[in-house]
Subunit: 357 residues, 2 copies
């Protein structure tokens, strides 16, 4: 592979000049510029990114920490992150922590600041102390999906109002006439979904509805399935189930099917996130859409800014921790929610009565 100096020699200039024309820095005469470009072309020169990284003191990569890329939310998010990262010439290294804080730490220790100039963190179950450490070492970190805009974490982040998401789900169910509902709260270990559930409960409480059973579950279709079955067996009168994530919501639909319940007529189901699968399920899942792509963009932008401003390096301690807030989640009504059957009958009767009048 040709190097800068070879190109320089070929063009009859010095490496510095070549570097300048390539990076649009400094002033370079038009003729030499052309000569250099030609040399680059004929030699097929490509800058050596590792060398450049060393010289610049910054590698053109971002580390994206995820718990497991196999969870369908992450790929969608990762794709958005990659798109955003490319616009600033960054590559993304994908780091699966598998929910293991030690794996996460190992990643941070190895690449933060040495191969990546920034770290993006999703709910990867990382140790916050480790994140602070890497930040203290000079590598900016941003949390990509903070759940509580009202309670900033100690780290730069992009917050999404997940409490509102839960509330919207609850309100929707309430408006349809549901009064007896179940809730499936995912990610028990990390407790990260608590906020969503709070929002849901708030909605019910505001409406004076107290009937609400909860069940924790792992954040998968299967987890939701199991939780929903338990919920439905404990209280067969439930007319609706809210899940803090789409995957468990999908599982709840399966559980309903297995119990001979028809969704949405016998049981309404609503989730949160709006992953692609939500659109593709049968019936299509009503869910509260979270601005994933937007959040990814905001996160990358924020990280980029922190990098430029060398956040963390300078006056540590006194600076305020930036937080960006994404646009609000919004309800997407599809086919998995409806007026509960009992109500519908009542409404039908009412209608008939009216007709008779």
């Amino acid at each position: 592979m040709p190097t800068l100096s070879e190109v320089a020699r070929h063009a009859g200039v010095t490496p510095a000049t070549v570097s300048n024309v390539l990076r649009h820095r400094g002033r370079v005469g038009e003729t030499t510029r052309q000569r250099v470009l030609d040399a680059v072309e004929t030699l097929g020169y490509r800058p050596h990114l590792a060398a450049r990284a060393l010289a610049e003191g910054r590698a053109p990569t971002l580390a994206l920490m995820v718990s497991s890329i196999a969870n369908p939310f992450y790929p969608e998010f990762a794709l958005a992150v990659e798109r955003a990262a490319r616009t600033s010439g960054h590559f993304v290294i994908i780091c699966n922590t598998n929910e293991d804080p030690l794996t996460g730490r190992a990643y941070l220790d190895q690449i933060a600041g040495t191969l990546s100039e920034g770290v993006l963190v999703t709910n990867a179950n990382l140790d916050f102390a480790d994140l602070h450490t890497t930040e203290a070492r000079g590598t900016p970190v941003v949390l990509c999906m903070w759940e509580r805009p009202s309670e900033p974490p100690g780290l730069p982040c992009v917050a999404v109002d997940f409490r509102l998401a839960g509330e919207l789900a609850g309100t929707h169910l309430l408006e349809l006439g549901h009064r007896r509902m179940g809730a499936i709260v995912g990610s028990k270990a990390s407790g990260i979904h608590a906020t969503r559930y709070e929002g849901f409960v708030d909605a019910l409480r505001a409406a004076g509805v107290a009937k609400n059973r909860v069940r924790h579950a792992v954040d998968t279709i299967r987890g939701g399935y199991l939780a929903a079955r338990a919920l439905l067996e404990a209280d067969p009168q439930l007319t609706a189930i809210f899940a803090t994530n789409d995957l468990p919501a999908l599982g709840a639909m399966h559980a309903a099917a297995d119990l001979g319940l028809c969704v949405p007529d016998d049981l309404s189901v609503v989730g949160i996130t709006d992953i692609e699968l939500a659109r593709e399920s049968r019936p299509a899942l009503t869910t509260v859409a979270v601005p994933t792509v937007e959040a990814a963009g905001l996160a990358v932008d924020l990280l980029r800014e922190l990098i430029e401003s060398s956040y963390g390096q300078a006056g540590r301690g006194t600076k305020h921790v930036p937080m960006r807030i994404s646009s609000a989640p919004r309800l997407v009504v599809r086919a998995s929610t409806a007026v509960p059957r009992a109500r519908r009958k009542a409404a039908a009767n009412a209608g008939r009565t009216e007709n008779l009048e």
Copy 2:
């Protein structure tokens, strides 16, 4: 961040020695070794990967080219790749081509050999010429999921016998008694699924069954849905549908549902791959499982070997192109396939008759 020399100074030795103890190279006295280790510990030294990459002439990353990480197969594969890569100290940079050869080329041009010492390629719709170019420039490339073990491509690869996968699917349907089947062939553009379909057709042909309608589709649930509807509308007598991938197969199930057909009683559906969703669908999808994790492991191993042997750099042209073959795909019977209804009735009648005798 502390550097090697700082550690050296702190330990009263030279950088070379520190490097040696850290990399278990060269002979170092036990006492100095300990001293160095202590210094590393107290200073919190972490090797600068970019610097090391430059000095060693090789960056510790692998580029994984995928068409779109949002397609659920890729995350599963990517996860396996990352796991395998880590065992040799490699990080993985995820490169979404979005099916665009130009994007793919841009990635290759930028990072191959400059930030990544190897490239892993899935069906990312890359230009083979570009791959050959990067190989010629000295960066090993391996194709991760070559579909025809009998026809090696010109590049190192891991092959999976996808013809057999199609055949297994066909045979399964045949054995259940299906005679009138439809096929959904995905990824028309790249033609990559043709082999799977061939296998399917071979099976039918061998059984003397010619009834088989084909339809091409994009490789998504929606694509499968559309194709299945078209198939079923064109020939309502179809008792089974084979799809060259799980996603379209899932879509076919939805189409059946919308047409009032019960899977598997009215229509059997079988796919290929066995992505996680196949286990989670309702009914669970019968499919031909492909050894994804194994293939990922083989691909990383192969790539690693090529890197060690500096394949491509030395005696170009005369070498033979290595190919690894994964274990065979195998049928996983779940709930989406069954004996066709007509047959079942016949069998029932036969049974009754026998009983009467």
